[in-house]
């Protein structure tokens, strides 16, 4: 009897709620949990989980033991380049503004000396191969679906 009024208050309980909202999904709500946030043992650790502890690290070039930015250090600089050879934006790399400027200068110098590329052309052969793989995978999926359908019709007959 206690379960009866629940679906009326929370529409479509089997829909969105059951699928979960990623890592923040609370699961089915308990009776006592109504009236907003309740600190129960199951809830708190999840909230403090990955998202909380994976705060971004500080700037890799700041601090007392930080690495120096050097235009000759191709290995380090290339970490801050995208696949196409562009400089990575700061909000992705976490480098602070002052060091990002330094980094940009260092990359410019390395490019001048042909230690780093200005542009990396996407590999056309690899791209073609990837596309073929995608097409093959899709074909396999379709074939499987067709097979399933034909099996279903057979069993119906």
């Amino acid at each position: 009897m206690a379960m009866e009024p629940l679906p009326a208050r929370r529409p479509a309980p089997g829909g969105k709620g059951a699928k979960g909202k990623g890592k923040f999904s609370k699961g089915p709500r308990k009776e006592g949990a109504e009236g907003g946030f309740k600190k129960d043992a199951k809830y708190t650790p999840r909230l403090l989980g990955k998202a909380y502890f994976q705060r971004r690290r500080g700037c890799p070039f700041s601090g007392p033991k930080a690495q120096k930015i050097d235009y000759k250090d191709v290995r380090t600089l290339s970490k801050y380049l995208s696949d196409l050879g562009k400089i990575m934006p700061r909000h992705l790399s976490g480098v602070c503004a002052a060091k990002q400027r330094e980094l940009a200068t260092a990359i410019a110098r390395a490019r001048m000396l042909a230690l780093l590329p200005f542009v990396v052309k996407a590999d056309p052969a690899a791209e073609r191969e990837q596309r073929n793989e995608r097409i093959a995978a899709r074909a396999a999926r379709f074939a499987e679906r067709d097979a399933q359908r034909s099996r279903a019709t057979e069993s119906a007959e």
């Binding site: 050097d70 235009y71 000759k72 250090d73 191709v74 290995r75 380090t76 110098r109 490019r111 001048m112 000396l113 042909a114 230690l115 780093l116 590329p117 200005f118």
Partner: protein, 121 residues
């Protein structure tokens, strides 16, 4: 008095003595201006990240210089500009010249070490 890092790239299709010849030329010019060559690094024949004057490789040399006036830098750059063997050069003013080998040489040593170990089983 200031320190400079002066890197030159020499075209790959010249005899190896040219590399030394350019290095001596740099040293002479530095001497003329009463400067000092603090260190010289040969990075050897490296593959360029992009082709320069249709060359895909080049001999790199890094000179650590101590110079007294900007005129020396100007003359050095002018000489490199005129040289047919030097396909690229870069002058960078630095606080100090590090005594250690540069990141390029360290990476090279690492690569050679890995090669000496042979292919990993």
């Amino acid at each position: 008095m200031a320190f400079y890092e002066f890197t030159t790239i020499i075209r790959p299709d010249v005899p190896t003595t040219t590399v030394d010849a350019v290095a001596t030329k740099v040293a002479d010019l530095v001497k003329k201006h009463k400067g000092k060559v603090v260190k010289t690094e040969q990075w050897g024949l490296r593959t360029l990240a992009y082709s320069i004057n249709k060359h895909r490789k080049g001999y790199y040399t890094l000179h650590g210089l101590q110079l007294n006036d900007a005129a020396a830098v100007n003359e050095l750059e002018y000489a490199m500009k005129l040289s047919d063997d030097v396909i690229r050069f870069l002058t960078v003013k630095v606080e100090e010249i590090s005594k250690e080998p540069s990141a390029i040489l360290k990476a090279k040593a690492r690569a050679e070490e890995a090669e000496a170990m042979g292919p990993q089983a």
